[in-house]
């Protein structure tokens, strides 16, 4: 007997059918992966099940009985729990307080904390979810907070647990731990639905895989019956090239020359400590490093968002060391920022306005301060078509696009500007395979047309597949340089975490060694 069954669920938003007669069966004790591109309708479907959205048709059955779920409260009462991408915890309260919130044990408005404590401990031990019940949420790591969310669902009596892109916010280590927790949950008889667009996760943890595309279920399979390529094809609806093919690079001319650059971070500490490198036209140079080793500050200095405190930046022979972002753009530097919501897009602007941000002062978009809407919209229409941005029109606000399409807008703008140097920071973070492939192809196109590309990525796979040269950055210094094919993930990982400290050359070495000793 299935614990949860969906029959022909349909959900229509104005102008878009988000779920088109979707049916799904979840058995007791199994992990079902709901796989699909951004905007395929996975989250919508689960929000219907959890009572956050009302369906426009179809039926939900729990334990073979048809039910109407109108609110999360009802869903919880039926034994359905959901952990969202954005956690819904009260930061200043403790773990226990958060878990029992809404269903506090006790009488006459007095919470019986001893019982609460005991219950939370009990559940935590039973499912192997180690967490300090007295810690405050704000002091916990993201992975721990997620654990609290899961515990909360279990405390509320969930038999079906829905996880919405649970690994999006986790480090690889935390993701591994999450999967082992999920395993122990199903061993105890729970059923889990997890929403994702990451192929490797699906292959490693799920019992069954349901693939959605454009609001419909397009296939169902098992990890044993398929592979990455097959899944990607199902998900995107066509063959996806997961590996990148490219010829050897030739250095046409040095485009970016960074000499002994020193940059301070927001706290006034030196984050970039004497970095020197060059990027040639027709070359992709990748900066590999663990987050927080000075990459962000280095990029911000190059694109004019942060003033270096020492050293020199030259773009095609022009000194841009102290250039503002505006001068930097005009000199030919394009920037795909790390955080597209904060730095890349004005979400309240429509696509046309977003697609010219940075070019908005220049002809043909503006002359002497007066803008020319027809030129703006013409460019918008061209870029929407060229970069396959899925939208009904340029009138749509950027906030209404899916993550992948938003990134395409940024890419379209920055590459469409025809820059000398493209600085791409985490250009594929949070994107699905189809969009990743697209962004990679655009970056390679820039390389082939002789442009210089500086890529910063935490994804080693991306670094290894795209880069002609790889610079490993550690504690604000370039500790190692590799050419394509010379390094593998393990070697990079070793140097990224400071493993190569002793191999440092010149005066940086002694200072570095001292620091290492100091840390120890």
């Amino acid at each position: 007997m299935p614990v949860l069954e969906l029959r022909e669920i349909t959900k229509v938003f104005p102008g878009v059918v988000a779920n088109d007669r979707v049916s799904l069966v979840l058995e007791r004790g199994e992990i079902v992966a709901l796989l699909g591109e951004n905007g395929a309708g996975k989250s919508t479907l689960m929000n219907v099940v959890y009572g956050l959205l009302s369906s426009d048709g179809g039926q939900v059955l729990v334990d073979d009985k048809p039910v109407k779920i109108k609110s999360p409260r009802q869903a919880i009462d039926l034994g359905i729990g959901m952990v969202h991408q954005h956690f819904m915890l009260v930061e200043p309260l403790t773990v226990t307080e958060n878990i029992v919130l809404g269903r506090e044990p006790g009488r006459f408005g007095v919470i019986d904390f001893t019982t609460a404590h005991k219950k939370v401990q009990e559940i935590a031990t039973r499912y192997g979810l180690k967490v300090d019940p007295d810690a405050r949420i704000m002091d916990l790591s993201v992975g721990m907070q997620q654990r609290v969310e899961i515990l909360k669902a279990l405390y509320q009596g969930a038999r079906v647990l829905i996880l919405d892109e649970p690994t999006a916010v986790l480090t690889p280590q935390e993701a591994k731990e999450l999967f082992s927790v999920v395993r122990s949950l199903v061993d105890e008889g729970l059923s889990v639905v997890f929403i994702t667009h990451k192929l490797e996760e699906v292959m490693s943890v799920s019992d069954r895989i349901i693939v959605m595309r454009d609001g419909r279920v397009v296939g169902e399979t098992k990890p044993s019956e398929t592979d990455d390529v097959g899944l990607a094809r199902m998900m995107v609806g066509r063959d996806v090239v997961l590996s990148v093919e490219k010829g050897p690079s030739e250095c046409a001319a040095e485009v970016l020359e960074v000499t002994d650059l020193h940059v301070k971070d927001d706290r006034g500490l030196e984050a970039v400590r004497g970095v020197s490198f060059t990027v040639c036209g027709g070359e992709i140079v990748a900066l590999a490093g663990v987050s927080g080793n000075g990459q962000s500050e280095l990029i911000e200095a190059i694109v004019g968002l942060r003033r270096p405190v020492g050293g020199r930046l030259m773009l095609k022979g022009v000194d841009i060391t102290h250039a503002s972002a505006r001068v930097s753009i005009e000199a030919g530097v394009s920037h795909i920022p790390e955080d597209r919501h904060r730095r890349g897009l004005v979400l309240e602007f429509d696509l046309a306005e977003n697609l010219i941000l940075g070019d908005h002062r220049m002809p043909p978009y503006a002359t002497r301060g007066i803008m020319h809407p027809s030129a703006v919209t013409a460019t918008a229409e061209k870029r929407i078509a060229d970069y396959d941005i899925r939208t009904p029109s340029w009138h749509v606000l950027a906030s209404n696009l899916s993550g992948g399409n938003q990134q395409k807008v940024v890419v379209a703008r920055e590459i469409g500007r025809n820059p000398e140097l493209l600085v791409a920071a985490q250009p594929t973070r949070g994107l699905d395979v189809g969009a990743i492939e697209f962004v990679h192809r655009q970056i390679l196109k820039e390389r082939e047309s002789g442009k210089a590309v500086l890529l910063v990525s935490l994804e080693l796979e991306e670094v290894l597949s795209l880069a002609d040269r790889i610079l490993v950055i550690y504690e604000g210094r370039i500790v190692r340089e590799f050419t394509a094919g010379e390094a593998d993930e393990e070697t990079l990982g070793y140097f990224m975490t400071g493993g190569g400290g002793t191999k440092l050359e010149d005066e940086g070495r002694t200072e570095h060694a001292e620091m290492a000793e100091g840390d120890a």
Partner: protein, 375 residues
């Protein structure tokens, strides 16, 4: 699916327009409704009251003129606040900038007596705008340089401005006589009443032109609204202003100087408030004194809110507030409802617009209910 997607823009455009205009209108209607209940509960006849209110504000050309007279400074202060808001800045100090604009006009208009009208009026207008901008400049620099919050600084500058005027009208600029006020502006420095521009014969033939006290300032205000609308929609200045208002980080990445944009926005906002002071002095009082503004700078905040910061929306919003104040007297006289009740309605409008979420929620719930009936 592709078909349904293609119908989206039209649908969206309609939705946004309806939402933009719908909520403020709904708020006003709701405010009038609640106001009626309050009147009824206090023993007054709301129908008679609103009839009298309408008569006093739109009942004839003279009444319409009175409404326009009161709307004129509100359009300009509404624009001032709205322009700031569009850059993410809350210029709460429009009142002080308005005082500075009025002061400069009251001083220069007398001091430069003798210049021809066509030179004098533009000169005074520009001077008042510069004065308003100057009064916003210090808060603007403080905001851009050290992040001092403009709500505090512009408010403080309002006090400084008002007290400077208070001192000047009893001191250096005091006109002869008992009353603390400046000398009257000569005709050549005034904005004439609209009806004085037409001959007796024309006024007899077209009686709707007998607009009483309404003066040319209304034309200035409407032109200002059109100019601000053009700036926001069709210039890089406006584009950058809006970009910074929505997302300063993305703007910075796009090469826009957030600090410089902030300074420009607050100064333009101040200039518009200064212009409000100018038309009020040149068109109505012809001099400045302590109480020459009945809080136009502050009511401008409400006007901007009701207009949802749209420069053209500011015009009807200001006219609404102008009409409420113009008709209040008639309401008291004919329906015996105390004028203060108008303040309650104004407050309700502001409250409901500010609490737009509530209204939106009501609308959404109705839609949802309608949907569930269909389902």
């Amino acid at each position: 699916m592709s078909e349904s997607r293609e119908t989206l823009p039209a649908h969206r455009a309609w939705m946004t327009v309806a939402q933009k205009v719908g909520t403020p209108i709904a708020s006003v209607i709701l405010a009038i409704g609640i106001g009626s209940v309050i009147m009824w509960a206090s023993g007054y006849d709301p129908v008679a009251a609103f009839a009298a209110l309408f008569k006093g504000s739109f009942g004839g050309p003279k009444q319409i003129g009175d409404t326009l007279l009161r709307s004129t400074p509100l359009i300009l202060t509404g624009l001032s606040v709205a322009y700031g808001f569009r850059a993410g800045l809350f210029n709460i100090g429009a009142e002080g900038q308005l005082f500075m604009g009025g002061l400069v006009v009251a001083w220069l208009g007398v001091a430069l007596t003798g210049l021809p009208w066509v030179v004098m009026v533009p000169l005074l207008v520009v001077a008042a705008m510069l004065a308003g901008a100057a009064w916003a400049f210090v808060p603007a620099i403080l905001k851009a340089r050290i992040g001092a919050h403009e709500v505090i600084t512009t408010m403080m500058f309002t006090y400084i401005g008002r007290y400077i005027v208070s001192w000047l009208v009893v001191g250096p600029l005091k006109a002869p006589g008992q009353i603390p006020q400046t000398d009257a502006l000569p005709i050549g420095s005034q904005l004439p009443r609209i009806q004085t521009l037409f001959s007796e014969a024309t006024l007899e033939a077209l009686p709707f032109l007998k607009l009483g006290r309404a003066h040319l300032g209304i034309v200035v205000a409407v032109i200002a609204a059109l100019v601000v609308w053009f700036i926001l929609k069709y210039t890089t200045l406006g584009y950058e202003n809006r970009a910074v208002g929505f997302n300063p980080w993305a703007s910075e990445t796009g090469g826009i100087s957030v600090q410089w944009t902030t300074v420009k926005a607050l100064c333009i906002s101040g200039a518009l408030a200064g212009l409000a002071g100018a038309v009020e002095v040149m068109g109505v009082h012809h001099r400045i004194f302590d109480q020459f503004s009945s809080g136009f700078g502050f009511t401008g905040i409400a006007v901007a809110l009701l207009a949802k910061n749209h420069p053209l929306g500011v015009i009807p919003a200001a006219i609404l507030f102008g009409a409420l104040s113009a008709g209040a007297g008639t309401m008291q006289l004919e329906a015996h409802v105390p004028q203060k009740i108008i303040l309650i309605i104004q407050a309700l409008v502001i409250f409901l617009v500010a609490a737009e979420e509530i209204v939106t929620w009501f609308i959404k719930r109705r839609q949802k209910e309608a949907l569930s009936h269909v389902g």
